[in-house]
């Protein structure tokens, strides 16, 4: 089950977000050696961890198994501030219905299984529920076949380039019912993966109407 945590319901999750910063440090700094994220305090937190950030946490028996986050593209975000050269060709997508997707991680003992697919499905499920058209993302180019196989349509925003020794690209990932259906099939998921969000997105927002009428 994937939990969506934002400024409004964060108090219900205790210190989960702080714990996720520590796990991110273990994964992105210690394991993947993204040294420029290292602040020497065992916590990986940057300027895109704010009250506007929407966190996705895979919680298994009270433990964080993985996660990722979304940040508004209407603000200065990672692609616009740090990697604009990766979007040199198509420009930086910005708008209220586009968010930036980042910090995808799965804790070691949960890798190669359901958590990974649930986290990917959660992106599409949340996006469809909340009227997102697409998410932009900066990712290592080797992710591309995995996105493709999961049914995600990814428009490249420019050519890949080397970032910290790894070929990295920027892409715009479409939010679409077909993508949710495919990622569920590939991941062997039989239904929604998002935990109920205090009834908020269901009662106060109209569900997004898509032509294919996917039942979420």
């Amino acid at each position: 089950m994937i939990h969506v945590v934002d400024a409004i319901n964060r108090h219900k999750y205790g210190d989960m977000i702080e714990r996720s910063y520590r796990i991110r440090h273990e994964i992105f700094v210690d394991e993947r050696k993204w040294q420029n994220l290292d602040r020497g305090n065992g916590i990986e937190q940057d300027s895109y961890d704010t009250a506007d950030t929407v966190y996705f946490l895979a919680i298994e028996n009270g433990r964080i198994a993985g996660g990722h986050r979304l940040f508004p593209t209407t603000r200065s975000h990672m692609l616009s501030e740090v990697f604009p050269h990766l979007a040199a060709e198509r420009g930086i997508p910005q708008g209220p219905d586009i968010m930036e997707w980042s910090r995808f991680f799965v804790v070691k003992e949960f890798r190669g299984g359901r958590v990974n697919m649930e986290l990917m499905a959660a992106l599409q499920e949340y996006g469809l529920r909340n009227g997102l058209q697409a998410v932009s993302a900066v990712f290592e180019t080797w992710w591309l076949p995995r996105f493709h196989e999961a049914g995600f349509r990814v428009q490249p925003l420019g050519l890949p380039d080397e970032v910290d020794g790894a070929m990295t690209m920027a892409g715009l990932i479409e939010i679409a019912p077909q993508a949710l259906r495919k990622v569920r099939t590939v991941g062997g998921l039989t239904g929604p993966v998002l935990a109920p969000l205090d009834g908020r997105d269901r009662s106060t927002r109209e569900p997004v109407q898509h032509s294919e009428g996917l039942h979420l």
């Binding site: 040199a88 060709e89 198509r90 290592e140 180019t141 080797w142 591309l144 076949p145 995995r146 493709h148 196989e149 999961a150 490249p156 420019g158 050519l159 890949p160 380039d161 790894a166 070929m167 690209m169 590939v186």
Partner: protein
């Protein structure tokens, strides 16, 4: 060609790929681009495991025929350092930068040179259920800067189109029922007919029936062959 023009061309080619469902057309786009940088040979393939036949794993190729014959006859895929390196790395690499262990692997590379594949560049492709590789080779490659980065991206998208075309073709050719897949999967795990029957709550007779119908669809003569062919066609993932 100016760098902006290269990038624009690559992104346009990627857009064109989306509506393409024909292997030759997909290949033409990549070939036309890569030829300008010295590549004369092209191959898009998945890397076989020990149960799989290399010939069945290839999505598309315009490869040196003599080299391909030599390579497949001697099963060089098993000791090809380029194939081996694809498992260990995420980013494209020149063959000259590929770690080459002593012995047979070294022979593979010197033989390739003898057949005219003097320089090569490979893009590893890591999917959910296996690793693939797109290789470009020729007498001399001049892949730098935008050309290399552009070919990298174009290759990833072309590989995806080829995979989808392949998947569609295979889905059309063989349709196993869920029960048939269950039986073949458990068989692949070494279960006997009796055990498979116990697990699925079916009689050995019914299990035998499922194996026979699956084998018939796959064109297999024996149970073992049916399991192998179902794996090759990616009907089951043991």
């Amino acid at each position: 060609m100016p760098r902006e023009a290269v990038a624009a061309e690559v992104l346009r080619s990627i857009e064109d790929l989306e509506s393409t469902t024909d292997t030759d057309t997909i290949m033409n786009g990549v070939v036309q681009f890569a030829e300008r940088y010295g590549a004369t040979y092209f191959i898009f393939t998945r890397i076989p495991n020990k149960y799989q036949n290399f010939r069945d794993m290839i999505y598309a190729k315009r490869w040196s025929d003599p080299w391909y014959d030599f390579y497949t006859r001697h099963r060089l895929i098993d000791s090809d350092p380029v194939a081996e390196h694809c498992f260990k790395t995420n980013d494209p690499f020149f063959w000259s930068d590929c770690p080459i262990p002593r012995g047979r692997s070294r022979t593979v590379m010197t033989s390739a040179r003898d057949y005219g594949l003097k320089e090569g560049w490979s893009v590893p492709l890591h999917g959910f259920d296996g690793t693939g590789c797109a290789s470009f080779a020729g007498a001399s490659l001049s892949l730098t800067g935008e050309a290399r980065r552009g070919l990298h991206l174009l290759t990833m998208y072309a590989a995806e189109r080829l995979r989808v075309v392949d998947e569609t073709r295979k889905a059309q050719s063989v349709q196993l029922t869920d029960r048939e897949k269950d039986v073949l999967l458990l068989t692949a795990w070494g279960k006997t007919v009796l055990e498979v029957g116990e697990i699925l709550g079916l009689t050995p007779r019914t299990i035998g029936h499922h194996i026979r119908t699956a084998a018939e669809k796959l064109g297999a003569n024996t149970k073992a062959q049916a399991v192998v062919m179902a794996m090759q066609r990616r009907c089951i993932y043991p």
